[in-house]
């Protein structure tokens, strides 16, 4: 029984982890149809914000929960104004430009902090006992944060004006702009929000993974697979993608080791796309958020 609970806990952690690293990407993709190849670097910047801030003596919770999203969100707004807004409607060029941005950010951080970091942050919170098994309290905390974050996005989409416009854009981008909605401002805010969520995720994960200028690459593959498998609905897509792929990854990792877990995840995603080229929410839950 304890074993079942522990395995289940791990499974839920894998799933929520996928959702956490994908959500920022999904927000930007769902609303703006922009696939942000610098997504991994936004996570990386969140991590660096936490490391720098805690080294400067700022409380780790403040660094993770407030500073990381704030700093990366501001960077997101700047990036949108300087780069992305020139390329709306040109999906391929946007993709390439954000890739350039990704390289640029890696380059800048490497120039400032070096190719590796000396200092890391250790995860706060201790160990949680599940019968004979122990689980990390911080992992539990991350699961809770992910759920809260998903709920917050749901509230925003459902009950705010921004959310209304977001849903309009999700269903018909041309119609939204034809209605005279200031898409430029909406896009700027969305990109900033997406970046902030990515920054938060990166900050929260920094104690688990440490920080490196190139750490973004380890996140993006999974984030991309999750978002594309999920489809363009922000919440339903992220959740469906995370549950399905995280579940497969978790189960195969448990049976055959983490390498096979990764292979299974990739194969599942490719087969899924053959069956549903527009993602899960492209076929099911079409009207979902």
């Amino acid at each position: 029984m304890d074993l079942v609970v522990a395995v289940l806990f791990q499974l839920i952690y894998v799933i929520s982890n996928l959702a956490l690293i994908s959500l920022g990407l999904a927000i930007i993709f769902g609303m703006m149809r922009v696939i942000n190849l610098a997504h991994g670097e936004f996570l990386m910047l969140g991590g660096y914000t936490v490391v720098v801030a805690t080294n400067a003596g700022i409380n780790i919770w403040v660094s993770m929960l407030i500073l990381a999203p704030l700093v990366v969100g501001i960077i997101g707004v700047i990036v949108e104004r300087l780069l992305i807004r020139w390329l709306y409607g040109r999906m391929v060029d946007t993709l390439l430009a954000t890739w350039g941005l990704s390289l640029l950010l890696v380059g800048i951080v490497t120039s400032i902090f070096g190719a590796s970091t000396g200092t890391t942050v250790s995860p706060p919170l201790g160990v949680v006992r599940i019968g004979d098994y122990s689980a990390s309290g911080y992992e539990l905390f991350l699961i809770v944060v992910t759920i809260v974050l998903l709920f917050a996005v749901w509230l925003t989409l459902r009950f705010t004006k921004l959310g209304l416009l977001a849903r309009g854009t999700m269903q018909n981008a041309e119609m939204a702009s034809a209605l005279g909605v200031s898409t430029s401002r909406i896009y700027m805010i969305t990109f900033g929000l997406g970046a902030a969520v990515s920054g938060l995720a990166g900050g929260l994960l920094a104690p688990m993974t440490g920080v490196l200028p190139t750490i973004g690459a380890t996140y993006i593959a999974k984030a991309f697979i999750t978002v594309i498998s999920g489809g363009s609905a922000i919440l339903a897509g992220t959740t469906a993608g995370s549950v399905l792929l995280g579940g497969i990854n978790g189960i195969f990792s448990f049976i055959a080791g983490s390498t096979f877990g990764e292979i299974a995840l990739l194969l599942a995603a490719i087969i899924l796309l053959r069956l549903m080229p527009r993602g899960i929410t492209g076929r099911f839950f079409r009207k979902s958020l």
Binding site: V92, L95, W99, S102, L104, G107, T214, L266, L273, R274
Partner: protein
């Protein structure tokens, strides 16, 4: 091959001839160290050529071309270690890589995954190769006699004369092989894009629906050009691990994937010589930058990519061609008649 195609391919032959001259002249002029370095650059140019084909002509936004390059290098190395010779290993590298691309392409094209998704999926496949092969450092990860070696990689046996494993080639001889391979691949691709198959691929790039309404099965054409491109990339991979002497999972990293894209963007989509030229130019730029610490390579390449996407989206070679054509139009007598009936042949 009819006369029209020969006319279209004239620039291809001119560049190929220049390549042959360079091939025989370079070892007499340059130092051995430079020649060894050049071999690596040539291998990368073959990779650039393969992406120039499938992206520039086929319109397939493959962000993971380097995956086929790396896979080719790994298959070559592992096969050469097991077979004790390079002849069959080279063939294996091309065949296995093409088969892998065909399988992946089947899911992508027959699932009608469109351009942006395609880019992300191919990139993801590359990154997964990266993280998987990095984990293979234990002694349990071996294929036949070849240990995969995790992030340290595997050292690659050098190419030998066909069916004569004891007579392996020296670095300057590998240079000849590499240069010859580049020239042959270049002429092959230049020919391919002027065949019916190539023209239909260009048509699909221009308008998928129209090509389909003319009765062409665009999925099959895309799969075809994608598979051929992967095979060429694998040849590049074989040359690469010969030039460097070993292959490591770093070949699959994000930086290398980006680099491949940058060569084609900077050189120009829709040309072949542009991306090849850009590869050499950027190879020497990044080696020059490698010697100093102020400007990081990532930073420089990121800025180059952004500048080209925003300001020179066509790339260098097409911009030059447009400029030359515009000048010709100003003097409109002989020049116009000489321009071929097709909008773009292989340059």
């Amino acid at each position: 091959m009819n006369s029209g195609m020969l006319r279209q391919m004239r620039p291809t032959f001119v560049y190929a001839l220049l390549g042959v001259i360079f091939m025989f002249a370079a070892p007499n002029v340059l130092q051995l160290f430079t020649i060894i370095n050049l071999t690596t650059a040539i291998a990368l140019a073959v990779l650039a050529l393969s992406l120039a084909l499938i992206w520039g002509y086929g319109g397939i936004l493959c962000f993971g071309q380097v995956a086929f390059f790396g896979l080719g290098a790994y298959v070559y190395t592992i096969s050469a270690i097991n077979f004790g010779g390079s002849t069959w290993a080279i063939l294996m590298a091309v065949l296995v890589t093409s088969a892998f691309a065909a399988a992946l392409g089947y899911f992508i094209f027959y699932g009608r995954v469109s351009d942006v998704y395609l880019g992300v999926i191919t990139l993801t496949v590359t990154l997964i190769f990266f993280s998987l092969i990095r984990r293979t450092s234990g002694p349990e990860y071996k294929i036949g006699n070849a240990l995969l070696g995790g992030f340290n990689g595997v050292s690659s046996p050098p190419i030998n004369l066909p069916w004569n494993p004891s007579s392996f080639l020296f670095p300057e001889q590998v240079f000849y092989v590499a240069m010859a391979a580049l020239i042959l691949c270049y002429v092959f691709v230049g020919w391919l894009v002027n065949t019916k198959f190539g023209r239909v691929c260009v048509a699909i790039r221009e308008n998928e629906l129209r090509a389909e309404l003319l009765g062409y099965d665009i999925r099959a054409y895309k799969l075809g050009i994608f598979t051929i491109g992967a095979g060429i990339a694998a040849i590049g991979g074989v040359l690469f691990c010969n030039g460097v002497g070993r292959i490591t999972p770093d070949v699959f990293n994000l930086y290398n994937a980006a680099l491949t894209i940058i060569w084609v963007i900077v050189g120009g989509r829709g040309t072949l010589i542009g991306p090849i030229g850009a590869t050499f130019a950027l190879f020497y730029l990044t080696s020059a930058l490698g010697g100093q610490t102020v400007l990081n390579n990532n930073l420089v390449l990121g800025v180059i990519l952004i500048i080209f996407v925003l300001l020179v989206p066509k790339g260098v070679a097409p911009t030059i061609i447009d400029w030359v054509n515009a000048r010709r139009k100003k003097a409109p007598t002989r020049a116009r008649r000489r321009r071929g009936s097709r909008a773009e042949g292989a340059q």
